[in-house]
C-alpha cells in the first residue's frame, strides 16, 4: 500500500517540478521570444498563415478575438458533424462502422470542439479511423483555443493601458505547434513503446484460451492518447477510456498519462508569472489551487484505499481498497488520485469507473467539477479562476476600505456584472439540467443504472461533467439517446464559451482603463492572505450552491451506508 501512495506522490511531485521550466518556455513562446524550436516551426507556421492569408501581426481587441474564436469553432463543429454522420462511406473505415445519428453526432462534435469529450458512443464501434483522426485534430485545436484565450487575458493584464491584445490566430497556432505538438510527439513515443497500438490496419484478432476468435480494435491509439491528455481533452479511443488495457497498458503509462494531463494546466499558472513578471502572483494562484486540489484529493484516496464498509461487513477482504470498478494494474490509490485529477483538471479521462467509487469520493469528484477552478483545463482553468479572483478582489477591496482594484485597474459595476453572470451560469446549468432530468423520470429514469440516491448522483454527475467541460461520466447512465445528447450538448456550448468570453471581456475592459499605481493602501493580490480570500470565495460559492443537491445524492448515500 505504501508503494502505491509513494507512486502517487512521485507522480504529482515530478509534474510540479517539470511544470516550472515548462511554464517559462510557454511564456517565452507567447511573448514571441526566440526558442530552440524556431527553425523547425517558423516555416510551417508561415506556410499555414500564407495559405489562409492571415497576417499574424495584425492585433485584435478583445471583441475581435472572441469573434475569431467563435467563428473558427463553429466551422470545426460543422466539419465534425459532417465527418461523424458520413463516416460510414468516407475512407479510413476498415471496421465498417456506420455513420452516427444526428443527435449523437451533434453531441460528439460539440463535446470535442469544446474540449469536453462527453462520449456517448464507444470508440470501438462508434467511429471510424477518419473520425478518430478528426477528433484528434479537435483535441489539438480545442486545447489551443483555450490556451489562446487565456493568453489574451495575460496580455490584457500585462499592458498598463491597451486596446490591442495580440492576434488570436497566431496565439492559437503557436499553442498547437510550439507547445502541444512537440509534447505530444514525445509522449506518444513513450506510450507506443509501452505497447499501445499505432496502426491503421483495422481490427486484430486473437484466439482466447477457450478457443474463441475475438476481434480486437486497434488504430492510431498512441498518438490519440498523448494529445487526449496533454490537451486536457479526455476523450478516449476506446469506450472504457484509460481503464482499457490498450489505452493504458501499465503503471508507467498510467504515470505518463497522469503527468501529461496535469503538466499544461500547471505550467500555464507559472507561465502567467513569467509572462506578467509577477512570479508571486503565480505562486498565489498555484497555492490556492493546490490547497483546493489536496483537500479534494487526499480524503478521496483515503476512502478508496480503506475500501467499502458495506462489503467489509459481508466479509469481503478490503486489503487492496475499494477495487470494484478499478484495474488491478493501477490499484486503488492511483485510481483515487486520478479520479480527482481528471475532474479538477477538465480532462475527464478515467482509469476506473467513478460510478463504483465510494459515495463521498463520488461527491469529491463532483465537487472538483463544481468548483471548476483548481488547475482546470488548458487555458480554461486560469480563465475560470480569474472570475473568482475578481469576486474576491471586490469583497476584500471593500474590506480594506478602498474601492476594489486588480493589478491597478478599478473593478466596477460592469466587470461585476460579467463576473456574476459567469459565476451564476455554472450552478444554473448543473442544477437546472439535473432538475429537468429529475422532473421527467418517465424519460430519464429508464437510463439510470441505479435507483435512489445513487441514480440521482448519476444524473447530477452527467450535467456537472458537461457544465465543467470535463467529459467524464459516472457511467451508470445510458446516455446515448436524444434527451441526454441534446440537453448536454446545449449545456456544453454555454458552459464552454460564456466562461471564456466573460473573463476575456473583463480583461479587455480592464485593459482599457486607467492604470492606478500601487500604494501602501493597495491590497496586494499576490499575498497568502488574498489567496485565502480567493479560496474562501470559491468554497463558499460552490458549497452554497451545491450543498442541497449533494445532500440528496452522495451525502444521503454515505449516511445510509453507515
Amino acid at each position: 500500500m505504501n508503494t502505491e501512495i509513494l507512486g502517487v506522490i512521485a507522480m504529482y511531485a515530478i509534474t510540479i517540478l517539470m511544470a516550472i521550466p515548462f511554464g517559462k518556455y510557454i511564456a517565452k513562446v507567447y511573448a514571441g521570444e526566440k526558442t530552440l524550436l524556431d527553425p523547425v516551426f517558423n516555416p510551417i507556421e508561415n506556410l499555414f498563415f500564407r495559405i489562409s492569408s492571415i497576417d499574424r501581426k495584425v492585433e485584435m481587441n478583445w471583441k475581435q478575438h472572441m469573434v475569431a474564436l467563435l467563428t473558427i469553432n463553429f466551422v470545426w463543429f460543422l466539419l465534425g458533424m459532417f465527418v461523424l454522420m458520413n463516416q460510414g462511406w468516407l475512407p479510413l473505415n476498415p471496421d465498417g462502422n456506420p455513420g452516427q445519428s444526428a443527435d449523437l453526432a451533434f453531441n460528439t462534435s460539440i463535446s470535442f470542439v469544446v474540449n469536453c469529450n462527453l462520449q456517448h458512443y464507444s470508440g470501438e464501434s462508434g467511429v471510424s479511423y477518419l473520425s478518430q483522426l478528426f477528433l484528434m485534430f479537435l483535441h489539438f485545436v480545442s486545447a489551443g483555443t483555450g490556451m489562446a484565450a487565456a493568453v489574451v487575458l495575460f496580455i490584457a493584464l500585462k499592458e498598463k493601458t491597451a486596446e490591442k491584445l495580440g492576434n488570436f490566430y497566431n496565439l492559437m497556432v503557436v499553442s498547437c505547434t510550439r507547445i502541444l505538438l512537440p509534447a505530444s510527439i514525445l509522449v506518444a513515443t513513450i506510450l507506443a513503446f509501452n505497447g499501445m497500438p499505432m496502426t491503421f490496419e483495422g481490427k486484430d484478432s486473437i484466439i482466447t484460451m477457450q478457443g474463441d476468435t475475438v476481434g480486437v480494435s486497434t488504430g492510431p491509439v498512441a498518438a490519440f492518447i498523448a494529445i487526449k491528455h496533454l490537451g486536457t481533452n479526455g476523450g478516449g479511443f476506446y469506450g472504457a477510456n484509460s481503464a482499457h488495457p490498450l489505452e493504458n497498458p501499465n503503471y508507467l503509462t498510467n504515470m505518463v498519462e497522469m503527468f501529461s494531463q496535469m503538466i499544461i494546466p500547471l505550467a500555464m499558472i507559472f507561465s502567467l508569472g513569467y509572462f506578467l513578471k509577477r512570479k508571486k502572483m503565480a505562486w498565489m494562484i498555484f497555492g490556492v489551487m493546490t490547497v483546493g486540489f489536496l483537500v479534494l484529493c487526499v480524503p478521496t484516496i483515503i476512502w478508496e484505499v480503506q475500501g467499502n464498509p458495506a462489503l467489509a461487513q459481508m466479509g469481503v477482504d478490503m486489503g487492496a481498497g475499494a477495487m470494484e470498478g478499478k484495474e488491478t494494474r493501477i490499484g486503488s490509490a492511483a485510481s483515487g488520485f486520478w479520479s480527482i485529477a481528471t475532474t479538477v483538471i477538465s480532462t475527464g479521462s478515467v482509469n476506473a469507473m467513478h460510478d463504483s467509487s465510494m459515495p463521498l469520493s463520488g461527491m469529491m469528484q463532483m465537487l472538483s467539477m463544481m468548483t471548476n477552478a483548481f488547475y482546470g483545463g488548458c487555458g480554461a482553468g486560469i480563465l475560470n479562476f480569474f472570475i473568482f479572483i475578481i469576486l474576491a478582489v471586490f469583497i476584500s477591496g471593500l474590506m480594506v476600505g478602498r474601492t476594489p482594484e486588480f493589478l491597478g485597474k478599478k473593478i466596477e459595476g460592469r466587470e461585476m456584472k460579467i463576473a456574476m453572470i459567469v459565476a451564476l451560469l455554472h450552478p444554473l446549468l448543473i442544477l437546472a439540467g439535473t432538475a429537468l432530468a429529475a422532473a421527467f423520470p418517465a424519460i430519464t429514469s429508464a437510463n439510470l443504472n441505479n435507483p435512489g440516491f445513487h441514480g440521482f448522483s448519476e444524473m447530477l454527475y452527467e450535467y456537472t461533467s458537461s457544465a465543467a467541460n470535463n467529459g467524464s461520466g459516472f457511467e451508470g447512465l445510458g446516455d446515448n439517446n436524444p434527451w441526454w445528447n441534446i440537453t448536454t450538448g446545449f449545456v456544453l456550448i454555454l458552459s464552454r464559451f460564456i466562461p471564456i468570453i466573460g473573463p476575456v471581456a473583463i480583461a479587455g475592459l480592464l485593459a482599457k482603463k486607467k492604470y492606478i499605481p500601487e500604494s501602501a493602501g493597495t491590497l496586494r493580490t499576490d499575498s497568502a492572505t488574498f489567496g485565502m480570500m480567493v479560496l474562501a470565495v470559491i468554497v463558499i460559492i460552490t458549497a452554497l450552491s451545491f450543498f442541497p443537491s449533494l445532500t440528496l445524492g452522495p451525502i444521503a448515500e454515505y449516511f445510509s451506508m453507515r
Partner: protein, 679 residues
C-alpha cells in the same frame, strides 16, 4: 452642535423611524433593493399560504407555525427598513438642527442700489429672499441666509454652525467673504448679497440627499448590489431546482420550508443594511461638520492617494510672524524699519500685521501724502506703497531681486546670504526695497502644529501621499516639509501650480483631494476628485468643490479620508459576514428539510437542533434579529486601522469572516433551545 456623544437611538428619532419602517414596505420603494424585494415576495407568499390553510388546506402544516414564519419574515423586512429609516432620521435631524437656526429670521432688505450703508431698507422674512438680493446686517443681527459680503467688515459668531466660540472676521473681497445663515454679527456692519435661492443651499441639498428621493446609488454601491443580486439569483436557482430534486427522492417540502431556506440563504443582512451604511457615511461626514454634495464624494474620499494641504493653518499654526529685521549694508536700521512698516500699512494679512507688531508701530505712526497702495497678487508676489516719488516694495526674494536687477541695481550679497540662511532655518524672508534698492530683509518664522507629523505618518500607512502647498520659496518649503513629515511640497505655489500638480497626479491614475477657500482655488477644487471648500470661502469655491467644511478646519481632510474608508469597509465586512452566515444556516435547514423522509441525514444535524420545525424557525429568527443587532455597527462604521492593507484584510477576515461562520452556529443553537420550549 457637535453632539457626537448623543446616543445612536434617540427616542423621537426611533419613533419616526418606526413609522417609516412601515411606509417603506411599499413594494415600489422596496424594488430599489433587490435582496429585500425578494424577501417581500416571500412574505406575500407566506401570507397566501396562511390564508390557504385557513381555507382548508392540510398539506402545509399547522396555521400557527406558518403564521409565525410569516410574522418573522415581515419582521425581517421591518428591521431592514428600520435600519435605513433610523440612518435617514439621524441625518435629517442633524441637518434640520443646522437649518432651524436660519428659519424665519427678519432681514433688512436693501431697496435702492447705492453703495454705502445709508440706504433705504425694508424688513422682510428670510424665506422671501431671492438670489441676488442685498441685505444689511448690523451688530446683534442674525444673518438671515447664505451670502457674500459685498461691502464692509464684521466680526461674526459662527458657533451655531461650527461649535467654535471664538468670533471670526469676515470682510468684503478676498477669500473670507462668505457668511452663513444662522450665524450672528457681533460688531460692525456688512452688506451681503444672497448667494443661493431658498431651498437650494448646500444644507438643503444634503437633506434631500439623505431623504432618499434624490439619493443615487454610487458606482460602488451599484457593483455591490450586482454582487448581492447575483447571490440572490444563485439561491433562486438552488431553491427552485430543489423542488424536482425533492420530488425525485419522494421528500415533500412545504412552501414555508422553501421560503425559509431561501430567505435565510440570500444575503439579507447586508441587503437590509446597505442603504443605511451609505446614509450613515454621509451622516458621519455631517457630524464632522462636513456637508457632502453626493454620496460618491464620501466614497471617493476613501480612495484618495494624494492629499494637497495648505501649509498655513494645516501644518503650521496660524500664520508666520515677523521675528527679525536684517538691515542691508549702508542703510540705517531706523530707515529700514520705517519702510518695512510703510510697506505693510495696507497689508491686512497676519504677516503684515506682525511686521507692525515687531516694529512696535501702528498704521497711524507715519503720515503719507496721497499714498497709492499696491495690493499683493499671486503674479507679482509683492506688495507695497507709492507716495510722492518713493516706491516701496515688499515681497518674496526672487520677485524683489527681479525688480532690483531689472532697474540695473545690484542685489547686495550679504542680503542674498541672509535670505538663504533664513530659508534654511525654515523661516520666510521678505525683502524690502525702496526705489528698486534693497533696504533689508524681514524674517518670518513658522510654528509647526504639534501632533501633525503623527497624522501624516498615519496617512502614509493608509497609502495617502501628503503634499504641502505653500507660497514659500523652495528652501523654506523643504525645511518645513521635512520637519512636518509631508511627502512632497509645492513651493512658491501659484493657483495654476496646484491645478497642474493635480492634473499630473490624475494622469498617473491617482485620486487627489484638496481643500481651498479662495475663488482662485475654484478650478483646482473642481479638478480634484475630492474638493473640500471652507464654509468661510467664496461662493465660487463652494460651488466648485464637492464638500463644504463648516469648521473651516484644514485638517478635516484627514478625517474625511477615514470616513470614506470606513464606509467601504463597513460594506465589505458586513457582506462577508452575511455570506459566511449561510454555512451555519445550511446546516440548520438542509437536514430539517429531509430528515423526515431520509432519517440517515440526522448525521448532518451537527448542531443537534430539536426538531425540523424548530430548526427552520431558529434559522429564520436568527436571520431576522441579526439585522437590528448590526444596526449600530452599520451606523457607526467599522473602525479603520492604518496597519497596511494585507494586515487589515487578515484582521477583518478573521473577525467578520470567521466570526460570520461561527456566530450563527451559536445563535441558532441558542434560539433553538428557547423555541423548542414551545414546539
Amino acid at each position: 452642535m457637535k453632539n457626537q456623544n448623543a446616543s445612536l437611538f434617540q427616542k423621537d428619532l426611533v419613533n419616526e423611524a418606526l413609522k417609516q419602517s412601515f411606509i417603506k414596505l411599499n413594494p415600489r420603494v422596496l424594488f430599489r433593493n433587490p435582496v429585500m424585494f425578494t424577501v417581500e415576495i416571500g412574505t406575500f407568499v407566506m401570507f397566501a399560504v396562511c390564508i390557504w390553510i385557513l381555507s382548508g388546506n392540510t398539506t402545509q402544516g399547522s396555521f400557527g407555525y406558518n403564521f409565525v414564519i410569516f410574522l418573522i419574515l415581515l419582521l425581517t423586512l421591518l428591521f431592514a427598513n428600520f435600519a435605513e429609516a433610523i440612518a435617514e432620521a439621524r441625518g435629517k435631524a442633524q441637518a434640520n438642527s443646522l437649518r432651524k437656526t436660519r428659519e424665519e429670521t427678519p432681514a433688512k432688505l436693501v431697496t435702492d442700489n447705492k453703495p454705502g450703508f445709508g440706504v433705504a431698507t425694508q424688513s422682510v422674512m428670510s424665506a422671501q429672499m431671492k438670489k441676488g438680493d442685498v441685505f444689511i446686517c448690523e451688530a446683534g443681527d442674525n444673518i438671515p441666509t447664505d451670502g457674500e459680503i459685498i461691502e464692509g467688515l464684521a466680526t461674526i459668531d459662527e458657533s451655531a454652525i461650527t461649535g467654535e466660540s471664538a468670533p471670526v472676521i469676515r470682510e468684503a473681497g478676498g477669500d473670507k467673504s462668505s457668511v452663513t445663515g444662522g450665524t450672528k454679527v457681533l460688531s460692525d456692519k456688512i452688506k451681503v448679497m444672497v448667494s443661493t435661492a431658498p431651498g437650494e443651499s448646500f444644507l438643503d441639498k444634503m437633506i434631500a440627499l439623505v431623504e432618499g428621493a434624490s439619493r443615487q446609488k454610487t458606482p460602488n454601491e451599484i457593483a455591490l448590489t450586482i454582487l448581492l443580486a447575483g447571490f440572490t439569483l444563485v439561491f433562486v436557482i438552488v431553491c427552485m431546482t430543489l423542488k424536482p430534486f425533492a420530488d425525485y427522492s419522494n421528500t415533500p417540502i412545504t412552501i414555508s420550508a422553501f421560503i425559509s431556506l431561501f430567505v435565510c440563504l440570500i444575503p439579507t443582512t447586508i441587503g437590509g443594511l446597505l442603504s443605511a451604511i451609505g446614509i450613515a457615511g454621509m451622516d458621519r461626514a455631517l457630524r464632522a461638520n462636513v456637508i457632502t454634495k453626493s454620496g460618491k464624494a464620501v466614497e471617493t474620499a476613501g480612495d484618495i492617494d494624494v492629499l494637497l494641504l495648505d501649509k498655513t493653518g494645516t501644518i503650521t499654526i496660524g500664520n508666520r510672524k515677523a521675528t527679525h529685521f536684517h538691515t542691508a549694508k549702508g542703510v540705517t536700521d531706523n530707515h529700514f524699519i520705517k519702510n518695512a512698516v510703510l510697506s505693510s500699512i495696507a497689508d491686512e494679512t497676519p504677516e503684515g500685521k506682525s511686521i507692525l507688531e515687531l516694529a512696535n508701530a501702528s498704521p497711524s505712526t507715519y503720515q503719507l501724502n496721497d499714498p497709492k497702495f499696491i495690493k499683493f497678487t499671486a503674479e507679482t508676489r509683492s506688495s507695497g506703497v507709492d507716495f510722492e516719488d518713493t516706491r516701496i516694495r515688499k515681497g518674496a526674494f526672487d520677485s524683489i531681486r527681479n525688480l532690483v536687477t531689472q532697474a540695473g541695481n545690484q542685489f547686495p550679497s550679504e542680503i542674498d546670504e541672509r535670505v538663504k540662511m533664513i530659508s534654511n532655518n525654515g523661516g520666510t524672508p521678505l525683502v524690502v526695497s525702496e526705489n528698486e534698492r534693497v533696504l533689508g530683509v524681514i524674517e518670518l518664522q513658522d510654528i509647526i502644529k504639534p501632533g501633525i507629523s503623527e497624522r501624516f505618518e498615519r496617512l502614509r500607512k493608509m497609502g495617502v501621499k501628503t503634499v504641502m502647498v505653500t507660497g514659500d520659496n523652495p528652501l523654506t518649503a523643504k525645511f518645513i516639509a521635512e520637519k512636518a513629515g509631508v511627502d512632497d511640497f509645492i513651493a512658491e505655489a501659484k493657483p495654476e501650480d496646484k491645478m497642474n500638480y493635480i492634473k499630473r497626479e490624475q494622469e498617473g491614475g491617482k485620486l487627489v483631494a484638496m481643500m481651498g477657500d479662495g475663488t482662485n482655488d475654484a478650478p483646482a477644487l473642481a479638478q480634484a476628485d475630492v474638493g473640500v471648500a471652507m464654509n468661510s470661502g467664496t461662493q465660487a469655491a463652494k460651488e466648485a468643490g464637492n464638500m463644504v467644511d463648516l469648521d473651516n478646519d484644514p485638517t478635516k481632510l484627514i478625517e474625511i479620508v477615514e470616513i470614506g474608508k470606513q464606509l467601504l469597509m463597513t460594506r465589505g465586512t458586513l457582506t462577508t459576514f452575511s455570506i459566511a452566515n449561510d454555512v451555519a444556516k445550511y446546516f440548520a435547514i438542509i437536514p430539517a428539510l429531509f430528515i423526515a423522509s431520509i432519517p440517515a441525514l440526522q448525521g448532518l444535524n451537527i448542531m443537534g437542533l430539536n426538531s425540523p420545525q424548530s430548526a427552520i424557525l431558529s434559522a429564520v429568527i436568527f436571520n431576522a434579529v441579526i439585522i437590528p443587532f448590526l444596526i449600530p455597527l452599520a451606523l457607526k462604521g467599522v473602525a479603520y486601522k492604518p496597519i497596511g492593507a494585507s494586515a487589515l484584510l487578515r484582521r477583518n477576515l478573521f473577525i467578520y469572516g470567521l466570526g460570520g461562520i461561527l456566530v450563527p452556529f451559536v445563535g441558532i443553537k441558542v434560539i433553538d433551545l428557547v423555541v423548542s420550549i414551545w414546539i
